[in-house]
Symmetry: C2
Subunit: 217 residues, 2 copies
């Protein structure tokens, strides 16, 4: 059975997976970029974010391997609208085409959760579909599009939290970054304590502590 | 200069350092005992909690070393009233003498933060002093009693949080336990993001992820 997975969800020590006050200048919220420094420091992470990849120096192998695992076997991605862009409410026009430029790093169908649909957006290698039927409808569409491969919840925090609360997420990789944000969006905010989930692996990397969480784990 | 330190403060992945609804049957709050399983599994931790110490089997060295470091160089301990006992409000009498029986594991002066003072309680090797002057007054008394040694904030969560927020704590060791509680008491709940603190070390043990946090670190 194909799985629903989330990877490389960075979280601060005080529990925030994104900073507050996201806008065009702060796609990860204020202070949120620091959560992802561990990923920017890896060759694959830096390449995806458009920088000159550093060498895979000793010590980076763990972070690199966890980062790369997030792409393996994925046939479609679901994301929240705020991960697609900073525009809120009805689309004033269709000029916003995502944070990633003309060739987004997905190269498979992406389903954007929104209350305001718009026509599918086809960029180089990636088509964004806008879905207003809720998280389960998006999941059904994504599994169909993935055609037997796994589906990834790309983020952001609120989207991960919703799939966790509904126990629809099978696997979750959280990278704990060694810093405090103070404010922002939590992913673990379920008063039931995520009773359906367990931790199956914890590994220390150079820049983050990698925690694997599985349904029934 | 002697330091104010807190050690072996266990925290769930969702950020809780104690379960909710503490009472005499649940000194660590409901579900809170699971936070400390990593410590109970070490020889020193088990010995302190009154069980038969297990062998120091390979893999336990990291957890054991972090646990033991919490006692080294400490001359006095400060704790919140809920760490001393489940009694709330004015003391009905003085029959409650702590969770630990006739020989508490401290063997140095302990200062209990409370709004309801009572006479000092002298047990075998440990005297408990009840202080109603606030966290700074307790700190002054504890440093005087420690006579050049460091002072430890024993807990609970609320007491650690207060000393952190006031930037009076110099060093903090948090042990992240690989589980979720859902509800309880947070230690990191400062909207300023503990800007005065930094993470200086993260080490993975068999049962917990050990994080060292230092003022200015």
């Amino acid at each position: 059975m194909p799985k629903l997975r989330a990877h490389n969800i960075s979280m601060s020590l005080d529990g925030f997976a994104a900073g507050p006050d996201q806008d065009e200048d702060n796609p990860l919220g204020v202070g949120g970029r620091a959560l992802h420094e561990w990923a920017f420091a890896t060759p694959s992470g830096r390449a995806m974010f458009g920088g000159d990849p550093p060498e895979l120096t000793p010590g980076l192998e763990v972070d690199e391997a966890w980062w790369r695992a997030g792409d393996e076997g994925i046939g479609a991605t679901i994301m929240g609208r705020n991960m697609f862009g900073p525009v809120r409410g009805p689309w004033p026009d269709h000029s916003w085409t995502g944070w990633w430029g003309p060739e987004p790093p997905y190269h498979h169908p992406v389903f954007v959760l929104t209350h305001h649909v718009r026509p599918a957006l086809e960029l180089d290698g990636t088509t964004f579909h806008f879905v207003d039927g809720g998280i389960e409808a998006a999941l059904e569409l994504a599994f169909a599009a993935a055609d037997g491969a796994d589906v990834r919840v790309g983020g952001g925090a609120s989207t991960v939290r919703q799939y966790l609360a509904a126990e629809l997420l099978d696997d979750l990789h959280v990278a704990i970054a060694p810093l405090f944000l103070g404010r922002g969006e939590r992913i673990f905010d379920d008063p039931a304590g995520l009773a359906g989930y367990g931790v199956t692996e914890v590994v220390q990397g150079a820049g983050a502590t990698h925690v694997r969480i599985a349904k029934g784990g």
